[in-house]
């Protein structure tokens, strides 16, 4: 599964990589660079198109707050691991590149975990192992192999931020729906008025359970593909 995804991924950034020598390339937020940020939200979304990072997307989306923290953590890890690997890319011996990438990812994830334990202890308890498991999130290593190893630091950094945000965006959408229908709250605040409950409305317990996250994710993929006909596999 992982290898297949990686292969599929390599195709996508190939379009972006094609060098177009022009003055535009020197600008920090050129159209090309901005595309690196925006593509992961649409046609190149890591979760809905490349189907990566599903495990954590199911696990941390019961409530909105942990999903937000998870999204920020992944953005930090993808962004900075892409940046660091891109800076090192000409010095990394190809034979040990995977282990070097893993070392960088693992270091960043441990840093994020330590910082969370220090400043957001309650959330870090809720996220428990899933922060640590960012190390094994295919999105991070996929972007390092497919993009950071072959691109300059700034575009690599943007690509990392973009992919992390694309993942986080899906996480937040799923968590929004699950917390709203599963607990009747958003970020812990009651949003469904008491009168609804008195009229016989009940929270849907199925939304709390992981299977519903998979169904919600499936629906998002369905909606996404129906708006992007070129994503539909024949």
């Amino acid at each position: 599964m992982k290898e297949k995804d990686m292969k599929r991924q390599e195709k996508a950034p190939a379009k972006v990589q094609s060098p177009k020598p022009s003055g535009e390339e020197n600008r920090l937020f050129s159209a090309k660079n901005l595309k690196l940020l925006s593509r992961p939200f649409g046609a190149d979304n890591p979760v809905t198109v490349q189907v990566l990072g599903i495990c954590s997307a199911l696990a941390v989306t019961v409530k909105l707050q942990p999903a937000l923290v998870m999204a920020v953590s992944v953005i930090v890890v993808t962004g900075f691991s892409n940046l660091i690997i891109s800076l090192l890319r000409n010095t990394i011996p190809p034979r040990i590149r995977i282990i070097v990438q893993l070392t960088v990812i693992a270091t960043l994830v441990i840093l994020v975990d330590q910082v969370l334990k220090a400043v957001a202890y309650d959330v870090s308890k809720q996220l428990s192992v899933f922060v640590g498991l960012i190390i094994t999130n295919c999105i991070v290593m996929g972007r390092l192999e497919a993009f950071a190893m072959a691109n300059k630091p700034w575009p690599a950094f943007l690509d990392g931020i973009g992919n992390g945000a694309g993942y986080g965006f899906i996480l937040i959408v799923v968590a929004f729906l699950r917390e709203l229908f599963g607990s009747g709250t958003l970020l812990g605040f009651k949003v469904i008025p008491e009168s609804f409950y008195q009229a016989g409305y009940v929270n849907n317990g199925l939304f709390i359970l992981p299977p519903m996250a998979l169904i919600v994710l499936g629906v998002i993929i369905w909606v996404h593909r129906s708006f992007n006909p070129n994503l539909i596999e024949k």
Binding site: T107, Q114, D122, L209
Partner: protein, 271 residues
């Protein structure tokens, strides 16, 4: 392109750099993490006493509600007593060098007790002289489980309980951390009518099925039998070490009650 020498040097350099970065962050963030762990512990102790508090107010409420911290030895004698002097905990009685109950790690103490050491201290937290909270530490299915049990003045009836776990199965074993499970302990008893120690059993199939009587048992979690058994073992193992202390206190409370009763009886005789 890259020689073996280069690869070895490269990896060594990388590993050293990573180690330095990680060690520095760990040292820098340690005080904050330590503080968070202490606050979480205070929240758990207060939860056993029936107070659910946020992390911001935990320290203040803890210093207000928890009036004394005791350590007791295996014979049930009080080793030290700490009292809160203007939000600062000071030893007031017993061995003044003994550590504060709050800083006693039950896991370490249990380990020492299991290896036969006599020099072990068990913490007791006193809430307003009416609730006595003891910590618990044991093994679940996947990892450690722990908890706090609040006992009334009779050192027999449970007034509150809270449990935590590192990584029990969500929806099954992890239910021990839910209120529905913990509420069951309220009103249960540790000793039978003859004064024999029974502990509390987490009974598969329901508290009614427990042969020793339903006042010494709670319902187990469906599908979480291993964790439920872990809780039973944790309760009986940890409370066994506290048993002499409970019995001493019970006798003392009984004696005090008797004197009070005698005094009451004597009043009409004198008239």
């Amino acid at each position: 392109m890259f020689s073996n020498k280069y690869i070895f040097l490269y990896t060594s350099g990388l590993v050293v750099a990573v180690a330095v970065v990680l060690a520095l962050t760990a040292i820098l963030l340690q005080p904050m993490q330590e503080r968070n762990r202490e606050v979480a512990k205070m929240q758990e102790i207060l939860k056993a006493a029936g107070q659910t508090v946020s992390s911001e107010e935990a320290v203040e409420i803890y210093n207000d509600l928890i009036t004394a911290e005791w350590t007791v030895d295996r014979q049930g004698a009080l080793v030290s007593e700490y009292r809160n002097v203007k939000s600062d905990w000071k030893a007031v009685d017993g061995n003044l060098k003994a550590p504060r109950a709050f800083d006693c790690d039950l896991k370490t103490q249990l380990g020492q007790a299991a290896s036969g050491s006599k020099d072990v201290l068990f913490p007791v937290f006193v809430c307003r002289d009416s609730l006595y909270i003891v910590p618990l530490q044991g093994k679940g299915l996947w990892g450690p489980i722990w908890g706090y049990l609040a006992l009334g003045k009779d050192f027999n009836t449970v007034w509150g309980a809270t449990f935590g776990h590192k990584g029990e199965t969500p929806g099954l074993g992890a239910e021990i951390a839910e209120d529905a499970f913990q509420q069951q302990f309220i009103g249960k008893q540790l000793f039978d009518t003859l004064g024999g120690f029974t502990s509390i059993t987490v009974q598969k199939g329901g508290a009614d099925k427990y042969a020793g009587g339903s006042e010494h048992a709670v319902d187990a979690i469906s599908g979480g039998t291993m964790t439920s058994n872990g809780v039973t073992a944790m309760l009986s193992d940890c409370l066994e070490y506290y048993r002499p202390f409970f019995q001493n206190m019970k006798a003392r409370m009984q004696a005090e009650a008797d004197t009070a009763a005698v005094a009451e009886q004597q009043v009409p005789v004198l008239e």
